[in-house]
């Protein structure tokens, strides 16, 4: 089946078995190995990508469901200022994120910061509850989210002033 979609800002087209999982297509056909499928059943989150701007698990998405959608992988997201703000937040908090957890941390945190200026305990707890990276239980991880929110707000305020 021929499937066309937008991938990290490019229009792409691929001939593939329609049931194939997007996670595998990204890694095997496009070399986007920042998507790290671990469980293939929707629990680890390491395969998270954005579809039309919303985080989804690419292991649970067959190729036929991607037609004409806009997919952003961690490789496409990292260069954005949103991603850089979050990374800087974690860095300042002393929480260094290994490469394999980036998709499972950056996308949910970004979604949170898009809807909330000041994340509360409940918001942060939700991110941690579903994060399958051990150190996400640390204080530094929590701090990282709070500092990232500050960077985001600062930029938004600057944007408004202009």
């Amino acid at each position: 089946m021929r499937i066309s979609f937008h991938l990290n800002g490019r229009h792409v087209s691929i001939n593939t078995i329609p049931e194939r999982r997007l996670a595998d297509i990204l890694r095997e056909d496009y070399g986007l190995v920042g998507t790290h499928p671990g469980c293939y059943k929707g629990t680890c989150g390491f395969c998270t990508v954005l579809m039309d701007g919303n985080p989804i698990y690419s292991c649970l998405l067959p190729a036929f469901a991607v037609r004409e959608k806009t997919i952003t992988t961690i490789e496409g997201f990292l260069p954005t200022r949103e991603a850089q703000e979050i990374l800087k937040g974690f860095q300042e908090a002393g929480c260094l994120l290994p490469e394999y957890v980036l998709a499972s941390v950056l996308f949910p945190v970004n979604s949170l910061l898009e809807t909330t200026d000041i994340p509360d305990e409940e918001d942060i707890e939700e991110i941690i509850r579903y994060c399958h990276w051990g150190p996400s239980r640390s204080m530094a991880f929590r701090e990282g989210i709070i500092i990232a929110a500050k960077f985001r707000n600062r930029r938004k305020r600057r944007g408004k002033r202009k």
Binding site: P18, E19, R21, D24, Y57, L60, A65, Y130
Partner: protein, 278 residues
Amino acid sequence: MVRESSHIYVPRNLGELLAIRKIRPDALLFAGGTYILKDNQEKVPELPRHIIYLMDIDELKRVSRTERYLEIGAAVSINRILHVGKHLLPRALWDALKGIGPPALLNQATLGGNLCVRKERMSAYHVLLLMDVKIELRRTGSSRWIPLQRFIDLEPLIENGEVVTRIRIPFTSWDFQIYRRLQDGKDGLTYCALASRQKEVLSAFTFSFGALGPHVIRSREVESALLGRKLPLTERDKQQALLGLRQTVERSHRDFSSFRKDRILSIFSSTLDMLIPE
């Protein structure tokens, strides 16, 4: 042996969907796919020969409301329903939907998919059952609305050529709502209780327990025995209600472990204690 791939139908509107469904009543309806793929860990999932993909149909992705009810298209994602807001969604439903999983899962999972799982009762079911929710079933040339309870009891669930298109949730002013989810493997339980109080009187009350698989525990006798009772309930009212529930569980769920039975009674007992005048 090379496996043949599935044939995928991607209808763009309801008319197309019903026409395809008519000629392919055996095809698998694929909404978010999160239940279908949940326990399918093959590298390339083996799916039925014919699949109808539902997520490109605008009519199934609408949310609307009137003064009396909220109407949700079968292919609306759970996350979008949550965005309708805590102030509009009944609190117990909000808690049930939120508890399904992380936003990434809820962006894919749909309410229609949740209610159409046959083998087990999923999270939204237990709450919506108590809210007198109705389900719209469509096929070419006809449409019918049926209560959720009847929908689940239907065998087969959906008749040839039918599709669930909308879910209608009435706005009832429950002023007491509880949803709990206790996960302990095979002894796991979900629990929902809804009540309305008028001054010091219990004017409406309904509850259900759900256990792994298709089990649903309800007792209409207990519910109606409590109606019209003065609040807070007397010790006698509480003991009678507990006895009624114990008998229901013993009668229809003998195979439950005593741990699970005790848990059901203790959760219910604390609800009865919480029912105090507004």
